[in-house]
């Protein structure tokens, strides 16, 4: 009977007080992680709410007409978002048109053609470039790209397209060097590593069995890419492009340097324009009067909502691919 000792000598694991204590610690820790998760949701709601509240004076003053009014006159306190919205869309579109084909090309090269040794190092270089802050791209655009465009490329474009219907109006006017075209180019360089990295990851999810089957039937490499890899990874590629678009829409510093900051809608891509983020960055600290500040915050609200839609669509696309890849493997 000696081995069944009195209850005080039971092993620690049976110490009721201790079990209760660790239960409580468990609950507290669980609640803490959950509270922090809810905090993230509150943060998101708070951002939306504060933007709406801040924009209220402008919303009341201009209503929906804010969206299609071009005037931006701080002196008479008349504000409209048409020019920044137009600039944001046009620069992002230019960026996507340039960056997507190049990005997909690089991704194809990396996954299908590149020697294995090179594949890793080129991939790493591209990922590192994706982390370089946008202000670096902006300063390069201002001091290096803009002069080149002004002296060589823009005059060439203007001359080349002279007399060609439609294109003539896109590439016209004095070559300033800065403007929406330059901003679009800089955005393209900035978005390129993103699009490339995501597309490459997506291409790598294609099961080798599928590719091997196609090769076995005598397909060329291009035919495998075009009829096997691209269709399989379509939703992922679209998701990657949308993520890039989301970046381009909200990008501030790379654009602010080179867009020209003119609240004007011009058909010419070489003309200075502005974007939503560039307007806010340039004018916010100098804005005098409640209405001016509110108008800028409303611009921010529009930007937030638009990027939300684009990013949500991107998430959905990538999630779909993930679900499929997970289900099949």
């Amino acid at each position: 009977m000696a081995d069944i000792a009195s209850s005080e000598e039971l092993p620690a694991a049976f110490d009721l007080a201790r079990i209760r204590r660790s239960h409580r610690a468990d609950h507290i820790f669980h609640a803490l992680t959950r509270a922090c998760s809810v905090f993230v949701l509150l943060l998101f709601a708070g951002i939306l709410l504060s933007l709406i509240l801040g924009a209220l004076p402008a919303i009341e003053a201009f209503g929906f007409a804010f969206l299609w009014t071009e005037a931006w006159d701080p002196v008479r306190e008349v504000f409209g978002a048409a020019a920044p919205i137009y600039g944001t869309l046009v620069t992002s579109l230019i960026a996507i048109i340039i960056a997507v084909p190049i990005g997909i090309g690089i991704a194809i090269f990396l996954t299908e053609l590149c020697p294995r040794v090179l594949r890793r190092s080129v991939g790493i270089v591209i990922e590192l470039l994706a982390g370089i802050p946008s202000i670096i791209y902006g300063i390069w655009g201002l001091f290096v790209l803009a002069p080149i465009l002004q002296q060589i490329i823009q005059p060439g474009f203007i001359e080349f397209f002279e007399g060609v219907p439609f294109f003539e109006s896109l590439f016209t006017g004095p070559p300033y060097g800065i403007g929406m075209f330059t901003a679009g180019l800089i955005l393209a360089i900035m978005v390129l590593p993103f699009v490339t990295a995501i597309t490459r990851d997506v291409f790598e999810t294609v099961p080798s069995v599928l590719k091997e089957a196609a090769y076995g039937m005598g397909s060329t490499t291009w035919e495998v890419i075009w009829s096997i890899i691209l269709p399989y990874s379509r939703s992922g590629v679209v998701g990657g492009v949308m993520l890039g678009l989301g970046r381009a829409l909200g990008e501030t510093m790379a654009v602010t340097f080179v867009v020209g900051n003119a609240h004007r809608i011009s058909t010419s891509l070489f003309a200075p324009g502005t974007t939503i983020s560039a307007s806010i960055a340039n004018e916010f600290t100098e804005a005098i009067g409640d209405l001016y500040v509110a108008a800028l915050i409303e611009l921010g609200l529009i930007l937030f909502l638009v990027t939300f839609l684009v990013l949500a669509a991107a998430q959905y696309m990538l999630y779909r691919l993930e679900a499929r890849a997970g289900g099949r493997s």
């Binding site: 660790s22 610690a25 468990d26 820790f29 669980h30 992680t33 959950r34 998760s37 809810v38 905090f39 993230v40 949701l41 943060l43 998101f44 708070g46 951002i47 933007l51 801040g54 084909p101 190049i102 990005g103 090309g105 690089i106 194809i108 090269f109 080129v122 790493i124 990922e127 590192l128 982390g131 370089i132 802050p133 946008s134 202000i135 670096i136 791209y137 902006g138 300063i139 390069w140 201002l142 001091f143 290096v144 390129l192 590593p193 060329t220 490499t221 291009w222 909200g250 501030t252 510093m253 602010t256 960055a281 600290t285 915050i297 921010g300 930007l303 990027t307 939300f308 990013l311 998430q315």
Partner: protein, 282 residues
């Protein structure tokens, strides 16, 4: 028949050639940026950059107040954002992996991860600057912290999910309570990956300019007062690059080089650390 083969081969060569060209164009383009950056930046580096404050136009000076300002605000933002981010990531990977709350949080977090940083600046302006009545380093740090959280959440969750369940089961079988299992076993196994996440977050915010423009503003002078406007490298670069003074533009290039070096350094360390995590087997 032969003409079909020839056509297919031509097509194949053409498109593969194009993708090789795209790679060369892309890499050259990006290389050009780095080369200019080093060329312009290195020629401007001297001792004064690290010992003197930002000069008025036309005089010599350095960037020390901006460098220190960036360090202070980055440190504060990481101190505030990391614990929250890690706890959220833990919830997503451990407690609530399949709950509806986790699903929503994951979605919102991914949106915040790519949300325009200038909008986050506006939010902090409304929340902190307006209520305090003036710009301050606190506000700048808060804006940066909002950027840190989603990055840390994402990396923490990603790494915790990779930790093999057998580890958790073994610890639970020994009688360890859940919170103990998470902190003593899972976190420990995932430590390298979690540190990687924090480093990536630091790299991300050290170049952020937009959210600082109207939260911490800028400061021409030496200041460590957290209740006053504080200089930071990115904002100093922004101001100096857009000025017409050549001395300022040169300093802007130096600042840009410093930031890029810091970011590349951090990303490389993060990558090395991340590669050494043994959890790939999970």
């Amino acid at each position: 028949m032969n003409s079909i083969y020839a056509k297919r081969r031509r097509r194949n060569n053409m498109f593969l050639g194009l993708s090789a060209v795209a790679t060369i164009v892309g890499i050259l383009w990006l290389a050009m940026i780095l080369v200019t950056l080093f060329y312009e930046g290195v020629s401007g580096i001297n001792i004064a950059v690290f010992t003197e404050t930002t000069p008025p136009p036309g005089l010599d000076g350095g960037l020390i107040n901006a460098i220190v300002g960036s360090l202070i605000m980055t440190a504060l933002a990481v101190l505030a954002g990391t614990p929250i981010g890690i706890l959220v990531g833990t919830y997503l990977a451990e407690y609530g992996r399949y709950t509806r709350l986790a699903f929503v949080v994951r979605f919102v977090n991914d949106i915040l991860l790519s949300a325009p940083s200038i909008v986050l600046g506006l939010f902090i302006y409304e929340l902190v600057v307006v209520s305090m009545g003036h710009f301050s380093a606190w506000a700048g740090a808060a804006a940066l912290a909002i950027i840190v959280i989603p990055v840390v959440v994402r990396t923490t969750e990603n790494i915790l999910v990779l930790i093999p369940n057998t580890l958790r089961e073994a610890a639970t079988a020994l009688g360890a309570p859940r919170s103990h299992v998470i902190r003593q076993v899972t976190w420990r196994a995932a430590r390298a990956g979690m540190i990687t996440g924090v480093l990536l977050a630091v790299a991300r915010i050290s170049g952020e300019t937009a959210p600082l423009l109207f939260t911490s503003l800028n400061n021409q002078f030496w200041s460590t007062d957290l209740n006053a406007p504080m200089a930071s490298l990115p904002v100093a670069i922004f101001q100096m690059a857009l000025s017409p003074y050549e001395d300022w533009q040169r300093l802007a290039w130096v600042g840009a080089l410093l930031i890029t070096m810091a970011v590349l350094f951090l990303s490389i360390i993060a990558r090395v650390l991340g590669a050494s995590t043994p959890s790939e087997r999970g």
